[in-house]
């Protein structure tokens, strides 16, 4: 590689790393406990799923209309927003709010045992893990915070690509895995930075890209609602929004949805007027029926007043990518060993960020050419 090219890639790598470094360090530190949120919930005694016995709420139990009336009795003057099911336990959650388009901060999440119909009270909120999750998702800034972190994720991807490009000239005369820790500190940092970076590269790319897609979840969902969903429900385009007192039977709606998408497990129902439905429909989201497609949700749109099917259509590719991004980012889809590997690679990422900061902070004075020569020679000409 010509030194002019190394110089260009070096500048790209430097700025695409330096700008997001503090954010990425925060994301690694907050991401570590989030990997183990299931295990932490169990320790905190907040694991309702394990305590409830009976038919999974996605398969049956007390009628949905009965469950909803119990939730609304608990939250008078509020309207239903979401009802979510578990494929493993009788846990059923119902979200209510002051209006159909209420923001997340105004929503209340209630837990129920659908097998017995018992209310379990509001979901525990405001704990340590909620704090960590908020910090990790949007640094407490809402949508602008999510978009900011999404942009940092994209810069991270640029840093990874430019770093991989610079790996080539650096390693021209070095064996894979070289760690020269007995020479100058700088050579040691360079070797650690290069080795950890190239070994964890594929994982970091996946985490960076899926994290960035997740950060753009709200605009992507809005876009689906305004285009695809609007097209599916175009017959209702001129009608005034359906008022909550005219909502029809949920059980009839579920039966119509399951007739349209048979053999699939429902994950949640979005009520009319919210982010995931039109102003006139129950949107019943079903999981795919194979392990690979279980994360891909397909909505069946049911007229909320009559209980008749309007349409059922797969989500567009970008929204499918968003749904697949969640498990790939969280690492929670293949048991505890996967989570431990996730944690190990997160720690490796922290060390890459840290050695990168050190290499920048402790650079000796001199023009960028010095750094370029260092990369081109694999730091071999360096005097300690």
């Amino acid at each position: 590689m010509k030194s002019a090219a190394i110089r260009r890639w070096y500048i790209v790598h430097k700025w695409s790393s330096l700008i997001p470094t503090l954010f990425l360090l925060m994301l690694c530190v907050t991401g570590l406990p989030l990997i183990f949120h299931d295990e932490i919930d169990v320790l905190a005694g907040e694991d309702y799923e394990a305590r409830l016995a009976g038919i999974p709420s996605a398969e049956g139990g007390v009628p949905l209309d009965t469950m909803l009336s119990r939730a609304l009795a608990d939250r008078p003057r509020e309207v239903p927003l979401f009802m979510a099911f578990s494929p493993d336990s009788p846990l059923l959650t119902i979200t209510t709010g002051p209006s159909p388009d209420a923001p997340g901060s105004a929503m209340t999440l209630l837990f129920f045992d659908r097998a017995s119909g018992t209310p379990l009270g509001p979901a525990p909120t405001g704990g340590f893990m909620d704090f960590i999750l908020q910090l990790h998702t949007d640094v407490f800034l809402g949508l602008p915070g999510m978009l900011l972190l999404g942009a940092m994720g994209l810069l991270f991807v640029v840093a990874l690509v430019s770093g991989a490009v610079l790996y080539a000239p650096f390693m021209r005369r070095l064996d894979f895995g070289t760690l020269r820790l007995g020479r100058s500190k700088r050579t040691g940092w360079l070797d650690q930075h290069n080795l950890l970076g190239i070994v964890a590269l594929a994982w970091m790319l996946v985490i960076g890209l899926t994290g960035a897609i997740n950060a753009f979840a709200d605009p992507l969902t809005d876009n689906w609602r305004n285009t695809e969903l609007a097209a599916m429900t175009s017959a209702y385009a001129g009608a005034a929004p359906l008022s909550p007192d005219r909502y029809g039977s949920l059980d009839m709606a579920m039966a119509a949805a399951q007739a349209a998408l048979p053999g699939r497990s429902p994950q949640f129902i979005a009520f009319p007027g919210g982010s995931y439905s039109s102003a006139h429909h129950y949107a019943v989201f079903f999981q795919g029926d194979t392990p690979l497609t279980q994360h891909l949700l397909t909505p069946a749109l049911i007229d909320a007043q009559t209980g008749a099917l309007t349409d059922a259509r797969a989500m567009p590719p970008i929204n499918q990518a968003l749904m697949m991004s969640k498990p790939l980012h969280f690492g929670d889809y293949a048991g505890l060993p996967l989570k431990i590997i996730w944690a190990a690679l997160t720690l490796a990422t922290v060390w890459i960020l840290w050695t990168g900061v050190l290499l920048w902070l402790r650079r000796r004075p001199g023009a960028v050419e010095r750094r370029v020569a260092e990369i081109a020679s694999g730091a071999s000409g360096e005097l300690a």
């Binding site: 080539a168 590269l201 293949a334 690679l345």
Partner: protein
């Protein structure tokens, strides 16, 4: 003392191991999504290749001044 200069590696040589690890990582990530049981086990083994490479490299680190 300068050691004799080693011949430069081709791009393919420099990226041989990184490519193996990247393919193993991505295969592990995707296999884990395809089901429980055996696919999960395969995912763990494939994904563990990256941390394992780091352990091996650490075992071969050069500590002494040469």
């Amino acid at each position: 003392m300068m050691k004799p200069r080693r011949p430069a590696r081709s791009l393919g040589q420099a990226f041989a191991w990184p490519l193996v690890l990247a393919i193993s990582t991505v295969a592990g990530l995707l296999l884990g999504l395809t089901g429980d049981g055996l696919p999960d086990f395969a995912a763990w083994v494939l994904l563990a290749s990256a941390p394992a490479a780091l352990v091996v490299a650490w075992g071969r680190r050069q500590d002494n001044k040469k």
